[in-house]
């Protein structure tokens, strides 16, 4: 399965928007945090988990999705949200804790919910798996055509929820695609130290579903393999497990000193940036001219700047708004 030119350019654009977005968020996050790095300070407080380097996993999968399809994302959700089509302004307002944010400032960066495009994320490892199975069940029971994608990190494949959810989706033959973003680190603990198998994709066999490992952090390869899995789901052939090799170019969160990384690893990852590689590919293949690429990049930056400016200019919630929205 190959992307059309339009799909390729869409993927590049979303990857660039995502990267520029993380850069802008990182800059805003550091405001008010120097020289005292106190997480509580600045316009964007709390923990901040950036997705730099993981963009191919978002676009290669979401290129196949429609609004009715559900995505459950992780604590590192920005790239997935952008690729799923979450409203960037409302998302940014949420991250800045503003009243017009997706959750009116109640959720924050780990709890982005956009009902318009069926996107949700959560802060604890493996939490989105069950809800993705449930979204697929709901679509099936209502005889609707949507499918569900559950994103997790490779560390989550050692959670009970992973195994239980795969089994449940398989035994009920539900249209779910389980996507593992393998950035090889669960905070400071390597995949090698935490995981009994080299590739989590082999675990699919235990639940009678296809499983595949996609190396290279390449959006085109991910597009192909994810496309086949999503096609299977749409055709009623049940769930698939995909593990995508990727790279965490930022730390676990902003401020992570990453002393646990082997020397040279970070430099090697940065030298192998998927956006740079995809950009070269597009030009070499004649998919786009340098000028066309630059236009995409300029537009991406403008879109990000606009979202950040929107969030900054938006109103704070009233303090007592904290007490509302507990119940429907």
């Amino acid at each position: 399965m190959q992307p059309t030119l339009e799909q390729k350019m869409w993927m590049y654009e979303k990857m660039v928007v995502s990267r520029r977005y993380e850069e802008a968020i990182a800059a805003a996050y550091m405001e008010g945090k120097s020289p005292v790095f106190n997480m509580a300070n600045g316009p964007v407080p709390g923990e901040m988990h950036l997705s730099n380097g993981q963009e191919p996993c978002a676009v290669g999968v979401c290129a196949h999705l429609k609004d009715e399809d559900t995505v459950t994302a992780t604590h590192r959700p920005h790239h997935q949200a952008i690729a799923k089509g979450v409203d960037l302004k409302r998302m940014t307002s949420e991250i800045f804790g503003k009243a017009n944010g997706l959750g009116g400032g109640r959720g924050g960066h780990m709890h982005l919910f956009d009902d318009d495009v069926n996107f949700a994320c959560s802060g604890i490892i493996g939490q989105g798996l069950g809800p993705a199975v449930g979204a697929a069940l709901s679509q099936t029971m209502q005889k609707k055509s949507g499918i569900a994608v559950a994103y997790i990190g490779e560390g989550a494949a050692n959670q009970g929820a992973f195994h239980e959810s795969l089994n449940l989706a398989a035994v009920w033959n539900l249209p779910v695609v389980f996507i593992i973003e393998d950035n090889s680190w669960g905070i400071s603990v390597s995949k090698q130290k935490s995981t009994a198998v080299e590739k989590n994709s082999v675990r699919a066999a235990g639940y009678g579903m296809p499983g595949e490992y996609v190396a290279g952090n390449d959006p085109l390869e991910i597009f192909k393999v994810a496309g086949e899995a999503i096609e299977r789901a749409r055709a009623g052939k049940g769930p698939t497990l995909l593990e995508l090799q990727t790279s965490r170019l930022a730390g676990h969160f902003i401020g992570d000193a990453e002393g646990y990384r082997p020397e040279g690893e970070k430099d090697a990852l940065e030298a192998d940036d998927p956006i740079t590689k995809f950009r070269s590919h597009l030009i070499e293949q004649g998919d786009a001219t340098e000028q066309e690429i630059e236009n995409i990049e300029t537009a991406a930056q403008a879109q990000v700047d606009e979202a950040i400016a929107h969030a900054r200019a938006s109103e704070d919630p009233a303090p007592e708004d904290a007490l509302t929205s507990v119940f429907a």
Binding site: S34, F37, D256
Partner: protein, 78 residues
């Protein structure tokens, strides 16, 4: 004799500022060579400052004070 407790040049890599987050001795405490006396945070990393001498410590920089490499943060009266 008074010996300065100085933020060492190699306490952290970059040339940015740090902040004293905790004094681990009270002002006027008796310290030995190598006694851990303070924690300095640089970005999100905590660095340890040790006493260069034995004696009584006289603290000159407070918690939350911004410090640079080479700054004197206390004196040790031998």
């Amino acid at each position: 004799m008074s010996i300065d407790v100085i933020i060492p040049d190699d306490l952290w890599e970059e040339d940015n500022e740090g902040v004293i987050t905790s004094w681990l001795v009270s002002d006027g405490a008796t310290v030995e060579v190598g006694t851990l006396v303070a924690e300095v945070m640089v970005e999100k990393i905590q660095c340890e400052v040790e006493s260069p001498a034995a004696g009584t410590i006289k603290i000159t920089k407070e918690e939350d004070d911004v410090v640079n490499k080479g700054d004197v943060i206390a004196h040790i009266e031998a």
